[in-house]
Structure formats: structure tokens, C-alpha cells
């Protein structure tokens, strides 16, 4: 593992452990299941870190924990050196605007009762003037390559690809520093995936973003990632530069994943 000392660490996850309490139907005899066990990693500013694992490996729990939605049983999450789980409400709201999620299911991520315009307005800094808001909405829409007609649509009137672009535009509109892309393009078809990957790379440069890219699909990871971490059964078993992982994986599980993705 190479740590480049010249670069600033934006997000650091230290010894993160999350347990789910599992009950049987009668509500007695609790047992706990480790969703995450002692996971540590960091992300440099401007970098794309990909976390790869199978469904149920706990990779989404990492995202939820960073997003402050699932509380860790132990461990810390540091953003620019500050412990996220010690934020007060105002600090938390400011932090939330800096890290924006884009989830796999765009359908689920958009309020079915709001028009696209209102969603984007909600994401903007409230203090802006109306003209400025409109200007920025147009800017973000063109950045994700959407027409302005979508502004007056409800989510169910949009196609899957359009919905995912709206989600990305919304994530940009908070002037975020980091996007958490949790299987963000996995449910789209292949040609659209290629398109969205290209778009994501462009956006990253244009808005100087940092990406945490969570996926089960090594092919897209190969395109977008700078560094790659492998998650298995709630543990981070291997992490390193993309070329290291893809060319000379140490863990047998990683080798297995790579072999399977060659098909």
C-alpha cells in the first residue's frame, strides 16, 4: 500500500464496526450479526476509491454509516479530521451537504410527489435569489446532460437514465465535495452505464469532486477507480492502488472475483 504524503486525506474511516441485532419472531433471545467488522480506510481529496463486494458483504452499510444513517457500534468516521458522529445538528446539516449520496435505485431516491424543479431547489443554498437559483439549476442540468423540459416533470414521467441524472444533479446542487455512489449505475443497461461512467469522470474534473464508488461490478471499477478496496463478510480484506489489485491480487477471494468478472 502506497500512501502519498503530499495529498490531503478528506475522509477517514477508523476501525468501523456495526452490528445488527437479530431477533427471532417471538421477540426474545437476541443475537447479533456483525455487518461490519473493524473496517479502516481513507480517501484522498480528488480521488476515486472503489469498494467492491458481493451483495450482503456490508459495503452499503459503510455508505450508510458515512452518511450518518447507521450508527457505528465502535470506531470513528473523520471528515477533514473531524468526527462525524460527534457533530451537533447544525454541523451535521453542513456536513451532509458536503457528502452527497447517489443510490442504485433512482426511483426510490426521488420523492414521487415533487417535480424535478422543486427537488433541485431544495438542494440549493436557500439564501440565493430566484434568478441565481434558476441559473444554477440550468447549469447543473446541462452538466448532467438533461434538457430543461424535465424540470416540470414528476419522477414517474422520466426514464431510468433521466432519473439517475436528476439524482446526480441534485447531489451536485448542494455544492458537495464528495459523492457516495452506492451501486449508482448498476441497474442501468450496459450502454447507459458506459455513458454515465464517462459523465461521472467529467463531473469529477469539472466540480473537483471526490468519489466513493461502491459496486459489485469490477468492470466499471476498472474504468473509474484510482484505488480499490475489497469487502468480504463485513471485513475489508484488501485495499490498494487499482493496478496492484487488478494485476497482482494477494487474497484468494480477490483472485476469485477477478476471474469471475472476466466472463
Amino acid at each position: 500500500m502506497v500512501i502519498n504524503p503530499g495529498r490531503q486525506i478528506l475522509l477517514e474511516v477508523k476501525n468501523l464496526t456495526v452490528r445488527y441485532r437479530q431477533r427471532n419472531g417471538f421477540g426474545w433471545r437476541e443475537k447479533t450479526v456483525d455487518a461490519l467488522n473493524d473496517v479502516s480506510f481513507f480517501i484522498h481529496r480528488g480521488e476515486t476509491l472503489a469498494l467492491v463486494g458481493e451483495t450482503g458483504s456490508g459495503k452499503s452499510t459503510i455508505a450508510m454509516s458515512i452518511l450518518h444513517f447507521v450508527s457505528p457500534d465502535s470506531g470513528e468516521i473523520l471528515y477533514s479530521g473531524e468526527d462525524v458522529w460527534k457533530f451537533k445538528r447544525a454541523e451535521l446539516r453542513a456536513y451532509h451537504r458536503k457528502i452527497q449520496p447517489v443510490f442504485q435505485n433512482a426511483d426510490e431516491s426521488l420523492n414521487p410527489r415533487l417535480k424535478v424543479r422543486s427537488m433541485l431547489v431544495d438542494a440549493l443554498v436557500p439564501a440565493l435569489s430566484t434568478e441565481e437559483k434558476n441559473r444554477r439549476i440550468r447549469e447543473y442540468l446541462s452538466a448532467v446532460q438533461l434538457d430543461e423540459d424535465v424540470l416540470d416533470c414528476f419522477p414517474h414521467q422520466l426514464s431510468g437514465g433521466q432519473k439517475q441524472r436528476v439524482c446526480i444533479a441534485r447531489a451536485l446542487a448542494t455544492e458537495s465535495e464528495m459523492l457516495i455512489l452506492d451501486e449508482a449505475i448498476s441497474s442501468q443497461d450496459l450502454s447507459l452505464q458506459a455513458h454515465l461512467l464517462k459523465l461521472l469522470s467529467e463531473l469529477k474534473k469539472k466540480f473537483s469532486l471526490t468519489y466513493l464508488y461502491i459496486s459489485h461490478d469490477l468492470e466499471t471499477v476498472r474504468v473509474i477507480a484510482d484505488r480499490v478496496g475489497i469487502i468480504k463478510d463485513g471485513r475489508l480484506i484488501e485495499i490498494g492502488e487499482k493496478d496492484e489489485i487488478f494485476n497482482s491480487p494477494e487474497e484468494p477471494y480477490t483472485q476469485l472475483l477477478l476471474e469471475r468478472s472476466r466472463f
Binding site: Y20, Q22, R23, G25, F26, G27, W28, G56, M64, V70
Partner: protein, 326 residues
């Protein structure tokens, strides 16, 4: 399980105490003065004070409350009725008999008829039989139970004079032979039990039919059909079993219905049950009886809810997670 049950049972105690206290407060703060009921209009202020003193109403509310509370906790004594002078609990226990007989039989009637018709309607979903029964049951479901009683009473007791219209027994009940007494009691019970029973059956019908139809359309039933499982087995083994357990918890939840649903029916048929005791105690501002009856009704509701919760958990043994992964 036992630890969980114990926790829930302990949890009942504060709820019931709070409930009984609230009933005490509501009853005492509600406008209207019980002494006026027992007062000769010509009597002076002196007599009023004497009556108030006898009922303990002259002391501050807090003192009355503490005295009442200690009586309840230590002796299970809710005080003596203002109007009869007998212990309130004794009057309640006496009235409980007719109410339990009425509601018990009605509940059995309702569950049997409602469940059976519900099952058959669900099996024949969309056919003429289902449509007819569903329409009839919707009619009864939308009907206040006392209205069913009034109509039955008007038809069978007043018009046709086939059955007695009021009371649990005839005036000459004691002079009848043993068999005669049983026949007499049954004749008196037919109308009120049918009234409440029809009302209950409409509720259970709606429930059972709904949940059977829903489960018959679910994926696992479709899968079972695709595997070639016989229709009979699908209905009774898969669908019915899944609908019956929640039904039991619905019965638990309907326990309060036994009290309030029976109340007006008891008034209609002049049955000496809880409903009538409550009704006349309220009219006579008979504090101890109202509070005792209210607390009992409250307890039954809380117990019914607990029963429903427990049965619901037994019926729905899905594993609950704190959150979802991936």
C-alpha cells in the same frame, strides 16, 4: 418468552393505574353534583352538606383520590354505590354475568358464521355467491348493532310475538321446571345474541375474506399452484392458516367491542348487564360505580391489546433487523 411476557405484563400496571386515575379525575371534574340527585328540592343547605359528607365529597379531591387509591390497591375496594349503598365491585360482578353470557355467545356466533362465510366467499371470489354474501355482510357491517336489535325486536317480539322482548328471564322463571327454565333463558337470549352475533360476524367476515383473498393472490400461493398442489390443500393449509392466526389477534382487539358494542344492545333489550349499570350510574352520577366499571372496561381493553400483540408476534415470525445491508 417469559421475560418478554413479564415485561409486558408489568407494563400494563402503570397504564391501568393511569387510566383508572384519569377516569377518577374525569368523573370528579365533570360538571354536575351527585348530591342533587339525592336531595329533596325543598331541603336546606344543611342536608346537602350531610349527604356530601356521607359520600366523602366534602373533602379535597386529592384526599378523596388517595383514599380511593389506597382502597383499590389494598382491598380492591372501589367504594359503595351512592344510589344502592352496596359495594360497587359487588354490583359490577353481578352485572358482569349477563354481559359475559351475551357477549360470549355472540362472539362464538360471530366467529363461526363470519369465518365460515368468509372462507367460502374467498374460495368463490367474484362469483355470484361471493357477491351476494359480501353485499349482505357489508350491509350488516354498516349497520349500528343496536339498529339490528331494534329491527329484530320490532319483527320477532312486537309484530310476530314469537320471542320475549326484554330481560334475561321471564317473571315466573323460578316456578318453571329445570328444562323449562333452560328453554326460557334460551328464548330470552336469542334476539340479543343474534343482534350482536350478526354484528360481529360482519366484522370477522370482512377480515377473513379480505386476508384470504389477498393471500390467494400472493406469489407463494401462485407458486404452489404452479407446482401442482391441490386446491383444497392450498385453501386450507396455506391460505387459511395464514389468515386464522391474525384473526385471533383481531379477536383480542375486539374485546373492547364487547363492552361498548353490548352497551346499547343491553339498553335496547333491558338486560341487567354492565352496559345498563354504566348507563344508569352515569345518569345518577354514581361515582364509585362509574369509576369501577370504567376501570374494569379499561383493564379489559389493555389486556385485549396485549393478547393481540402477543398473538400477532406468534403469527408473524419474521426476523426483524435493525437496518438493511446492501
Amino acid at each position: 418468552m417469559s421475560a418478554f411476557l413479564f415485561r409486558r405484563l408489568i407494563g400494563i400496571v402503570p397504564v391501568v393505574l393511569i387510566g383508572a386515575t384519569l377516569i377518577f379525575i374525569i368523573v370528579h371534574l365533570a360538571p354536575g353534583d351527585p348530591t342533587t340527585i339525592f336531595l329533596d328540592p325543598n331541603a336546606g343547605a344543611n342536608t346537602r352538606e350531610q349527604i356530601a359528607e356521607r359520600f366523602g365529597l366534602d373533602r379535597p379531591l386529592a384526599t378523596q383520590y388517595l383514599k380511593w387509591l389506597s382502597g383499590v390497591i389494598v382491598h380492591f375496594d372501589f367504594g359503595n354505590s351512592f344510589s344502592t349503598g352496596r359495594p360497587a365491585t359487588e354490583m359490577i360482578v353481578e352485572a358482569l354475568g349477563p354481559t359475559l353470557i351475551l357477549t360470549g355467545f355472540s362472539l362464538i356466533f360471530g366467529i363461526l358464521i363470519g369465518t365460515l362465510l368468509g372462507i367460502f366467499a374467498a374460495i368463490r371470489e367474484g362469483r355470484a355467491f361471493d357477491k351476494t354474501i359480501s353485499a349482505v355482510m357489508l350491509f350488516f357491517y354498516s349497520m349500528p348493532s343496536f339498529l339490528i336489535g331494534v329491527l329484530l325486536l320490532g319483527l320477532f317480539a312486537v309484530r310476530l310475538d314469537w320471542l320475549p322482548s326484554s330481560q334475561m328471564t321471564s317473571l315466573f322463571h323460578e316456578q318453571l321446571s329445570f328444562n323449562g327454565r333452560i328453554v326460557d333463558s334460551i328464548r330470552h337470549l336469542i334476539l340479543p345474541v343474534t343482534t350482536l352475533g350478526v354484528s360481529f360476524s360482519a366484522v370477522f367476515f370482512k377480515y377473513i375474506r379480505g386476508s384470504m383473498v389477498e393471500s390467494l393472490h400472493s406469489n407463494y400461493i401462485l407458486a404452489a399452484r404452479a407446482r401442482g398442489v391441490s386446491s383444497g390443500k392450498i385453501f386450507f393449509k396455506y391460505s387459511l392458516r395464514n389468515s386464522l392466526l391474525p384473526l385471533i389477534s383481531t379477536i383480542g382487539l375486539s374485546l373492547p367491542m364487547l363492552f361498548s358494542g353490548a352497551l346499547i344492545v343491553e339498553v335496547v333489550f333491558s338486560l341487567p348487564g354492565m352496559g345498563r349499570v354504566m348507563f344508569y350510574a352515569a345518569l345518577a352520577r354514581d361515582y364509585p360505580v362509574i369509576i369501577a366499571a370504567g376501570s374494569l372496561a379499561f383493564l379489559s381493553v389493555v389486556l385485549g391489546n396485549l393478547l393481540a400483540d402477543i398473538l400477532y408476534m406468534v403469527a408473524d415470525p419474521r426476523i426483524r433487523l435493525k437496518g438493511r445491508s446492501s
